[in-house]
Amino acid sequence: MSDLRDLYQEVILDHTKRPRNFRKLETATNSARGHNPLCGDRLTVYVNLKDDVIQDISFEGSGCAISTASASMMTESLKGKTKSDAEALFRCFHDVVTGRSEAPSETSKLGKLAVFTGVREFPVRVKCATLSWHTVRAALESEQKEVSTE
């Protein structure tokens, strides 16, 4: 059962039940929609980008516990970050949850997001954790976009 606690940590469950920044952002300059056809998860990420800095960020949609918590925690970590900081964090998060990097130095860069390291033991759930990240990346690339995990 320890594996299961690794996946569904308290912090994750808390964000699933009470997602932060869960709303439409009226001041959004950029947005993108993400879709995981495998589970039917759909979300939209809104970003207010000014001088390459994420002034505000939010999301809405429906998904599983992992994708909702990941989106919620992502919005908290990206607020105030520059586009290149966000890109670096995306790469680090991606490498850790896919198991590409197990180096503690990488995990430590994630801060609170390190709770998602347990996902790498559940390969079919990796896409749930990364959906919001792929979506925010698409939002930052262009003003309106749609991405799919498939």
């Binding site: 569904y8 469950l13 039917g40 998860d41 759909r42 599983c64 516990a65 559940f122």
Partner: protein
Amino acid sequence: MRATTERPVSTGRALSFEVHKIREDFPALRQNVRGKRLVYLDNAATSQKPRVVLEAIQRYYTSENSNVHRGVHFLSELATRRYEDARSKVRGFINAADDREIIFVRGTTEAINLVASTYGRQNVRAGDEIVVSVMEHHSNIVPWQMLCEEKKALLRVVPINEAGELLLEEYARLLGPKTRLVAITQVSNALGTVNPVRQIIDLAHHRGIPVLLDGAQAVPHSRVNVTELDCDFYAFSGHKMYGPTGIGVLYGKAHLLEAMPPYQGGGDMISSVTFEKTNYNELPYKFEAGTPNIAGVIGLGTAIDYLKSIGIDAIAAYEHELLEYATKTISAIPGVRLIGTAHEKAAVVSFVFGNVHPHDAGTILDQEGIATRAGHHCAQPVMERFGIPATVRVSLALYNTREEIDLLVQGLQRVSEVFG
């Protein structure tokens, strides 16, 4: 241990079904996954295989392997006999009139694609219509969409009610002078609904419209009689009925198959080839180009022997009893909403669970060694109909037990604990 479970069914009949003895026939059931005893409840995706099927495949490759319909040597004659014997077994199993009406394909999907790209291309023109239902598996939607796109034809969709039952009046209204084919599932993989195919066929035939039935979920669980049903095409897969993957069957009425162009070109499907003119082989070989899945066909034939040895009616009665137990116990869990509550159902219980996403429930159940399906079950339109992205689906087979359903219920309680 050979325990006999005797349980009264709702009709009051005593049912004797030696499930524990049957379980011994399935080597895959005797394993632990994630440190727990495997509870396999994903049979609508694919069933486990009995030892006799595994042995038949092994025996074929070990001592009977040869190509069919070709050589004059001993092994080729033996392989050909085994292959054609299996065709006769399939014919008998679904009560078709003639071996020539049994075409071996890779599975239900290929069977439907075969009909779409031969019969469909030949008979569907611009403005024509094909009727499917909202509860179809993607394999009985997409081939028709592709055909409609190519021919500028129209796909008409029969709606369902809240219980997941086809609206027959709506269906009857959709049938018209432009309808070229009705393609409908006998049993829904996502909801478990058993459709009134007899009536569906009668209504279509009354207007001279042929009917294709997707029998993938029906064949392993109930007696199928294509002659009595009078369906024009019937498609099913071997792997959901305790046979191997990669083998399936298309049944078609001989006069329809005769008139259809071939599906693929190659060896075996011809009677003579010159660069000026090729003559196609007679049925069923016209539709079986290239070396077929011989081992798969032999395995399928053995799976049929196995099903017959237990008795399809006994299986249907036992599974019905299990379904009633599963429906009762699962729907008693707080927060559970069943998706698919048709009056006539096969042994499928599909549900959503409070605010818990089916994938989270599926992951937690998996940690308990319980294999279920979480997702849209390749039937996205039906999920959309119910306004949900996915369900947890429990699909039962002849080897499942009440104890396993109890373990599932415990597993779902665990899900509640995690997300409580």
